[in-house]
Symmetry: C3
Subunit: 158 residues, 3 copies
Amino acid sequence: MTLSNADNEFESQAQALDFDFNGEIKIGGNYAPVIQHGHQVYVSGQIPRVGDQVIVTGAAGQEVTLKQAQLAAQICILRALALLRNQLGSLSKIKQVLRITVYVNSAHNFTQQSEVADGASGILLRVLGEAGRHTRTSVGVAQLPKGATVELDLIAAI
Amino acid sequence: MTLSNADNEFESQAQALDFDFNGEIKIGGNYAPVIQHGHQVYVSGQIPRVGDQVIVTGAAGQEVTLKQAQLAAQICILRALALLRNQLGSLSKIKQVLRITVYVNSAHNFTQQSEVADGASGILLRVLGEAGRHTRTSVGVAQLPKGATVELDLIAAI
Amino acid sequence: MTLSNADNEFESQAQALDFDFNGEIKIGGNYAPVIQHGHQVYVSGQIPRVGDQVIVTGAAGQEVTLKQAQLAAQICILRALALLRNQLGSLSKIKQVLRITVYVNSAHNFTQQSEVADGASGILLRVLGEAGRHTRTSVGVAQLPKGATVELDLIAAI
């Protein structure tokens, strides 16, 4: 089997962060990680979990630096891409990412949610190229499941 | 008229909670509770209001227990389903729930947003069966309209 | 070129607020302001920025009054409409607004997120008429990019 450019680039990005997303992607709660219907695919909110462990927890601007929060966003988007690859067979099936929403667990005075989200956007563009262009909303929230620093979800056209 | 399984199960779930969603569903503000376009239907953010009263208010993990917050999530999803039934005539028209986003009014250190959202997900699955499978995002917010403990919105395919 | 009613009304609303949205609409971060795919168009989260300046910053209910927060919501929706006009050529291409999500930077005890969002909803209805009817979710968040008081995003059918 020949991997598409997108699938290869996904592997490179995951290896660059030294994380392995080839096993089962764990989901908490009674919902679906991905729902595909017609030409759209929705991905549930992803936190920076690798295996059983949430890698980055706490509020950005307090316990967590901007750089650590960006790493959290990168892990979230790699999880989302891993789920999409599992669902679709190949990331090359994605015609266009339509939206990502990035929720950043934020200290009261932390206002760099957009910079945190850039961590995710950069990987989307590198892995998917033009199909990875996306609209984005980044907000600072009071808390996230399991104390995660970042949660993000995604909608794409296939 | 014969009610579908989904409509009957909706009634059972509402009765189990001892709430009546058969009257008008009140909406604050100048927007639409439901918009249907093509094969998609969007439901506005629902808070746990029954009639004129918001039943559960305050921050989860502070004034509000996990169990009370789960009840709030259950009322929100029943309201969303009541609105969909009014719009579509029958809940059996729903082909697939695509996304729910669950906003939990959260104390600083409350991290069980996913467990709160399970209250809503359980009802969706019981009422709609396979069509009720959905992607989900749960986040902890600083405050919600009228001090509600939970707000949730929904997108479905019809 | 004859402007549609919607385009004229957009100009009127912008002039009423004394803001000019005819230049480039600045976007921070490496993402797209608008993505159009098939019959749907997504607009990225907009903050109340005019030119280089974020006009309204700080938490509603603390440094910022309800009225100022409503102005912020108005600027956000005018920016979203300006981006849609640039993308589509004319606002008359919009068949139906499907969803706006309004994030309000909120003091701990501020619960009028829905009233803030009414600022945006009113303009949508005035500019687009029936096509401007929309579902809405309004929540209170801990912080927003650049300290903005409001951020909102939008999905529409074209």
